[in-house]
């Protein structure tokens, strides 16, 4: 694995420090145009004051970009992956199972990698001090979860289907129901935060956050799929959401550096 290669090379570093430090690692692939949002998307108002106006500077990958924090089981608590078990009682709403795999750009599993999620409750309200949407809080629902992916990149959460909620971006603006997903992957450059949507939501066409992704096919990757196989009889509907992180270039970056 490339990552162990980096570590092995690291160990040789001190003795080579004054000579040519030999390094071999594959940089990560860049995104295809249109498959990620731009920073500035004026229909999403908050981007107007927060998106940079200068072009980004292309950064060739060094050890700083191809390494990243590693999390372990000590970072996870037992009920972190079941958001319906975190309080004395059961939360209100429609219980669901969200399951999928985290893969890299070659379809290989991203294993032992931290996923963090947060979401509104069934009424469309976040358990957050700054959310003042007049919908009820649920004393039995915080709406946060964490899990480490398995060896095959798989993960699974039990939660409540979040509600839609209004926001002030434009007149009569409502967010489609979504769950926020935060992922690290193996490197600084694979760090990514995204949102998972539910199939068939009538709000998709009106949501500038989803529509900020130019490529239609890429946008569809943010929509989970109803999955009968994940659905548990007499208990909960299942949704499937696979996440693809950046993969590495096929050819290692040769030698020094």
């Amino acid at each position: 694995m490339s990552s162990s290669l980096i570590q092995a090379n690291d160990r040789d570093r001190d003795k080579d420090k004054d000579k040519n430090p030999r390094r071999t690692f594959a940089p990560f692939r860049r995104h295809e145009p249109g498959t990620q949002p731009d920073y500035l998307y004026p229909a999403y108002r908050a981007t107007r004051l927060r998106a940079p106006s200068q072009p980004l500077i292309f950064l060739p990958h060094t050890l700083s970009e191809v390494t990243g924090p590693v999390f372990g089981h000590s970072d996870i608590h037992p009920n972190d992956s079941d958001l319906t078990l975190q309080h004395a009682g059961e939360p209100l709403g429609e219980r669901i199972i969200v399951r999928g795999r985290v893969l890299d750009g070659d379809g290989h599993a991203v294993s032992n990698s931290l996923i963090e999620i947060w979401q509104a409750n069934a009424a469309g309200r976040y358990a957050h001090v700054r959310d003042n949407h007049p919908a009820p809080l649920d004393p039995n629902f915080t709406g946060t979860g964490r899990v480490l992916t398995g060896e095959d990149g798989s993960y699974s959460f039990v939660t409540i289907k979040p509600g839609s909620y209004p926001w002030r971006n434009h007149d009569n603006a409502w967010r489609p129901a979504h769950i926020h997903f935060s992922l690290f992957g193996p490197a600084f450059v694979t760090r990514m935060i995204t949102q998972m949507y539910f199939p068939g939501d009538p709000l998709f066409a009106y949501d500038p956050i989803l529509q900020s992704v130019p490529d239609e096919k890429a946008r569809q990757r943010l929509v989970s799929r109803f999955d009968l196989e994940t659905t548990r009889p007499e208990w909960a509907l299942g949704y499937r959401f696979d996440i693809v992180l950046r993969g590495r270039e096929a050819t290692p970056f040769e030698g020094k550096g």
């Binding site: 927060r50 950064l59 372990g72 700054r130 990757r221 996440i243």
Partner: protein, 189 residues
């Protein structure tokens, strides 16, 4: 099953990122008191295109230890002496402060070594994807030969230099101006 491996698009972390990421999983201490190296207390201040404080951003840092080595077990729990990773939400004044050490020099492209630097990610409402920048240290001799700083137009390099805090030994201040006057250099990583 997914069969097309185009990476999943990024979406904004939104205004409630604290719920999932910083209420219970902040990491202010990137390097503990026992860590080797020059102690650094690094304060970020995030400002928007109007120069107003951004009170709902999250900053993550990733850095090498004083020998220029990246840790391979950062985590958010325990009290590891050197973690290399940190994560904080900005306060109402747009600021947050990490306890760390000045990193060592990490190899760069070709035969170069990079100047001490800290890799930074910024997430916030209004950012549809993460912004990446780097913190270098003003007055560091190695900055002159840093291969990445060399890629940045000279007149914009100062935006990547943390300045010593005149009121506090070991204190450094780094402003992140998202847009407009004095806009910070962001990298396409």
């Amino acid at each position: 099953m997914t069969t097309d491996w185009t990476p999943t698009p990024s979406q904004t972390a939104g205004p409630f990122l604290h719920l999932g990421l910083t209420d219970n999983h902040s990491v202010a201490c990137v390097a503990g008191k026992g860590a080797e190296g020059e102690p650094v207390r690094l304060t970020f201040r995030v400002l928007d295109g109007d120069g107003a404080a951004v009170p709902d951003a999250m900053i993550e840092v990733w850095q090498a230890d004083c020998a220029g080595e990246y840790s391979n077990g950062a985590g958010t729990s325990g009290d590891a002496t050197f973690r290399g990773f940190g994560r904080l939400a900005t306060a109402d004044d747009g600021s947050c402060t990490f306890e760390t050490i000045k990193p060592g020099r990490v190899p760069g492209p070709a035969d170069t070594f990079q100047a001490p630097h800290i890799n930074v990610s910024v997430f916030a409402r209004g950012l549809l994807k993460r912004l990446s920048t780097r913190v270098y240290f003003a007055g560091e001799a190695a900055n002159a030969e840093d291969p990445i700083l060399a890629l940045v137009p000279e007149n914009r390099r100062p935006t990547l230099l943390a300045q010593p805090d005149p009121h506090r030994a070991g204190g450094w201040i780094f402003a992140i101006r998202l847009r407009g006057q004095g806009e910070t250099v962001f990298f396409d990583v």
